[in-house]
């Protein structure tokens, strides 16, 4: 199997923060931590698909926290990931109303070293909903916005990637897509309420 470069915790955090070959860092996270985390989820009533989804969500949260400079090196990365996965699964069980496993999971957590992830959990649901709104945009809009705001491509580079005539057409399209997305966000009651509270 292709092995991602090996990292110490400090090196891995630097690679993510500075986006030095982020793909390799993600692959390393999977190679090192996916199996133990998945076993844990399966042990607490999850299917393989659940474990798969929970770990993916865990990796996204972890990268998000590191990129935003909110990761404090109080625990090892492994401890942090397991804590996040545990909480994601705990919330999922709550949604599915499977209290038996939830209690066991809670008991398990009391014996384990825990990372402080309160800040991460608080906006987990909001971030999920935001992603969902982007998917509702439709493929052309999603593509153009991702190329510009995630891949950081210039208008000129986007013209090379997508079937648009020139930069001005791309600029107009991007404007409309962003407007559609903010429209969807405004229409989402949970998120709109949070914005109102911020700008009160």
């Amino acid at each position: 199997m292709k092995v991602a470069g090996k990292y110490s915790d400090v090196e891995l955090l630097a690679a993510i923060r500075e986006e030095q070959d982020l793909n390799k860092a993600i692959l390393y996270l999977y190679q090192q931590y996916a199996v133990p985390t998945s076993s844990f989820i399966i042990q607490y009533g999850g299917s393989e698909q659940d474990a798969d989804d929970v770990f993916q969500e865990t990796v996204i949260s972890f990268i998000d926290v590191v990129k935003k400079g909110r990761y404090r090196m109080e625990a090892s990365i492994k401890t942090f990931l397991v804590s996040v996965a545990r909480n994601i699964w705990f919330n999922e069980l709550k949604k599915r109303e499977r209290s038996g496993y939830r209690e066991k999971l809670f008991e398990h957590g009391r014996d384990q070293q825990e990372a402080d992830i309160s800040f991460q959990i608080s906006d987990l649901e909001k971030r999920r909903q935001l992603r969902e709104l982007v998917h509702q945009l439709g493929e052309p809009c999603k593509k153009i916005l991702m190329l510009y705001y995630y891949e950081n491509l210039s208008m000129k580079e986007i013209v090379d990637h997508l079937p648009y005539e020139n930069e001005q057409v791309v600029r107009n399209k991007k404007y409309k897509c962003l407007q559609s997305l903010t429209g969807l966000i405004k229409g989402n009651p949970v998120i709109a309420r949070q914005i109102s509270e911020i700008t009160k």
Partner: protein, 252 residues
């Protein structure tokens, strides 16, 4: 419409560090514009989240495909070997297997730690009076006094390193790791290398003490690959076969 376009322009320029001060002022003074601005920031957050989700999902699928390929039987040619050759091979396998079994049964991160740990010889005596006292305590192997001294001394890499060594001697491995990682993190932030090599080596040794060869191995490999590293010669003499064997054993 024009105002919205101006906000988007400001957003795009701000992301490149070139936002306009006039617009910044408007955002402070006009709550309605500030509200639209927050929605735009949230939209960018949403796009970046969705982008990251796609990137992670792609890597996950690659990883799963690699895993599936790794366990897939590849088939092969069954070779014919003579009966005598088979006997010799069987004996060799038994002998090698016995030796390997013994090694496998007895080896651990802890045994490697016992094998490779040696105290750090502090041979500097420069610095302030309090540093002198800490160094004196270190030379006297009075680890508790080292830790007490560090607690009241001005914090720097040397203090953290000595505290890490004192913790290591007292078998407080988590605390030692925390101090060594602190040295590395400070150097990573400041771009310096004060006590960097020492911290890296003893961080790896601390991980071995904690039976975490997976954490130790990448650091040791990095040291082995760097001929200028202070501990290169020491690490080059280590058995990486043993380290990998422990890694395999501890992953079971």
């Amino acid at each position: 419409m024009e105002q919205y376009q101006a906000l988007i322009d400001h957003l795009d320029k701000s992301l490149q560090g070139e936002g306009s001060p006039e617009m910044e002022q408007m955002l402070v003074n006009d709550p309605e514009i500030a509200r639209e601005w927050n929605y735009l920031l949230l939209a960018v957050d949403a796009i970046q989240e969705a982008g990251l989700e796609e990137q992670v999902a792609t890597i996950k699928n690659d990883w799963k495909a690699q895993q599936a390929a790794a366990v897939k039987p590849t088939g092969g040619i069954v070779r014919r070997i003579s009966r005598n050759m088979a006997k010799i091979a069987a004996i060799l396998v038994l002998v090698a297997g016995g030796a390997a079994f013994y090694k496998y049964a007895t080896i651990s991160s802890g045994s490697l730690y016992d094998k490779y740990y040696s105290s750090y010889e502090l041979n500097t005596s420069r610095g302030a009076a309090e540093e002198g006292a800490i160094e004196k305590a270190y030379h006297a192997k009075d680890w508790k006094a080292v830790l007490a001294g560090v607690n009241t001394a001005k914090r720097d890499n040397k203090m953290d390193f000595l505290a890490g060594m004192a913790d290591l001697e007292l078998k407080k491995y988590n605390d030692a790791i925390e101090h060594f990682e602190q040295v590395i993190a400070v150097n990573a932030q400041s771009g310096s290398d004060y006590f960097q090599d020492e911290a890296q080596y003893y961080l790896a040794i601390s991980w071995l003490a904690k039976d975490k060869v997976n954490e130790a191995l990448p650091i040791l490999e990095k040291i082995r690959a760097n001929k200028d590293h202070l501990f290169h010669d020491k690490v080059a003499k280590m058995s990486f076969f043993d380290l990998r064997l422990v890694q395999y054993k501890e992953s079971k």
